[in-house]
């Protein structure tokens, strides 16, 4: 019993890092421009398909493919920002919600036409690791490490590079940033690109161990929302920790009750946090 518990907890926590990575992307975009990116889910799915295609047609190692997917995610985010977000950025929130939702529908529509909605999977295994009673598929371990690496890279970028600091400046006070010579529109596009990149990478990591369809991003998008609320929206570190919390719960719940209860508990928690600590468990104010 204990062995099984530890095993599923480890499984959940490792997955939690990847959830966290996706949520960091969502949180970054919100933190910089207060836009809820409803195209987050399909971008995660596109990350899955990008990795899949590079692996299947390009014969690429999935982890190598992931780097290409990251680059494409960045460019794709730039594109989404330029086409759908920039012009409505200063309009009421509903406009940006509808704009990103429109992108969401377009991506799902095109994705369905191209890939159909039947499940795909990447036939790839690194074997598994056994530590005492715990058995972990190595792909999950690598995925967790990848998520940690990308989050750490984002942190270093935001705190130690000039464009990264400019992102924080624009997030803090866009008008002042503009007055100091920072081209805020480019910085916003870059932030959106980075958020999209992280979503695509999270999708790519997930695709190495779960089957997926073009619709698979949806549940991860919802999880990202829950995680962001847990960790405090706009707080990337909180998002990663929120991801761990959610992953841990997902690992533990099925050992006590039927799997179908997982979303009930998750979203119950979501509402409780909104009711009692709306700034998030780690939110400062």
């Amino acid at each position: 019993m204990l062995g099984q518990l530890l095993s599923s907890l480890t499984d959940g926590l490792l997955l939690g890092f990847v959830y966290g990575l996706a949520a960091v992307g969502l949180s970054l975009i919100w933190g910089v421009m207060t836009v809820i990116n409803l195209a987050h889910g399909p971008v995660i799915a596109l990350g899955m398909f990008g990795t899949y295609l590079l692996f299947l047609k390009g014969g690429c190692n999935p982890y190598l493919a992931l780097l290409a997917v990251a680059g494409m995610g960045l460019v794709f985010g730039f594109l989404i920002y330029g086409v759908a977000v920039h012009r409505v950025l200063n309009a009421p929130h509903l406009s940006t919600l509808l704009a990103t939702f429109a992108v969401n529908m377009i991506l799902i529509g095109v994705g369905t036409a191209v890939f159909t909605t039947s499940p795909h999977n990447i036939d790839f295994s690194l074997g598994s690791l056994e530590v005492g009673p715990i058995t972990v598929p190595a792909t999950r371990l690598v995925a967790a490490l990848g998520a940690i690496l990308f989050t750490a890279a984002l942190y270093l970028f935001l705190y130690f590079t000039r464009p990264g600091k400019a992102i924080r400046a624009v997030a803090n006070n866009r008008k002042a940033a503009e007055l100091m010579g920072i081209p805020s529109a480019w910085i916003l596009a870059l932030s959106f690109g980075l958020g999209t990149m992280l979503a695509a990478v999270a999708g790519g990591l997930i695709s190495t161990f779960f089957p997926f369809t073009i619709l698979s991003g949806g549940p991860y998008e919802l999880k990202s929302f829950v995680i962001c609320v847990l960790g405090g929206l706009g707080n990337p570190l909180g998002a990663l920790i929120g991801g761990l919390l959610l992953g841990g719960l997902e690992g533990l719940i099925p050992t006590f009750m039927p799997v179908s209860w997982v979303p009930v508990v998750e979203f119950g928690l979501f509402i409780l946090v909104l009711l009692f600590k709306p700034s998030g468990l780690l939110g400062a104010k």
Binding site: R168, N173, L179, M180
Partner: protein
């Protein structure tokens, strides 16, 4: 020679027009003050000059370039720098990072080290507080960061909006002394101040804004003696 020229500038917010044709000529190396009662449109004027607000009419020329349609960040890069009302610091970033962001443009970055030394020399307090979050500083220190950040942008013209607002008389005096030191280095400045006495005392030239237009202008020393000026900045005229 005029470094910055504002010609018949009209501007406002939505349905409300605030400026009705303002003309300014800022001489190179001079400290100019813009005087006017509360709500007369001084901040609106600076916002329009910097491109944060689109003018309805009129032009802004800087050096020999028409900058009327330039974005604010392009103006900053060209050397027009505004220290905005209410400081508008990057409160979640350190003092040092705020100064770094001031030097964002390539032109300012080239001389980052010398400019940082100059700023620390003007405000030694900022060096002590370099790694503290700007939002945690006192009001006076925050204003020093705001001015320091503006100087890091290597301005050719520095515009200062309500520098002394909310500061103690002693702190205001210190900041005004800093302005005099900066004037000594040949920096062109435009000062918007509610403390008109102090502003006129350090300025070369002054404009009085009333009813959305320039109502009076002249040498600061002469305007100080003008009875109408005393009434204007007390709010008797201009409504």
């Amino acid at each position: 020679m005029a470094l910055m020229e504002v010609k018949s500038l009209a501007s406002g917010y939505g349905e409300v027009q605030i400026l009705w044709g303002v003309d300014l000529n800022l001489e190179k190396g001079k400290l100019t003050t813009l005087v006017g009662s509360n709500g007369v449109g001084k901040t609106t004027l600076l916002s329009t000059v910097m491109g944060l607000l689109k003018p309805r009419q009129g032009t802004v020329t800087f050096g020999d370039r028409d900058v009327t349609n330039m974005s604010p960040h392009a103006r900053a890069k060209a050397g027009m720098v505004l220290v905005p009302e209410g400081r508008q610091l990057f409160t979640t970033m350190t003092v040092y990072e705020n100064l770094e962001m001031g030097a964002f443009s390539s032109r300012a970055r080239a001389n980052f080290k010398q400019n940082l030394e100059k700023v620390y020399d003007l405000f030694p307090r900022l060096q002590e507080r370099a790694h503290q979050k700007a939002g945690t500083l006192s009001g006076g220190e925050q204003q020093m960061v705001a001015v320091g950040r503006g100087l890091m942008a290597e301005p050719e013209i520095l515009m200062l909006d309500e520098l002394s607002l909310g500061l103690s008389p002693l702190l205001s005096l210190t900041l005004f002394e800093t302005l005099v030191r900066l004037k000594g280095t040949g920096l062109t400045m435009l000062l918007v101040e509610q403390n008109v006495n102090m502003a006129l005392a350090v300025s070369d030239y002054a404009y009085v804004l009333a009813q959305g237009k320039i109502w009076l202008e002249g040498e600061a020393r002469q305007l100080m003696k003008n009875d109408e000026i005393r009434q204007a900045y007390l709010g008797v005229v201009g409504h």
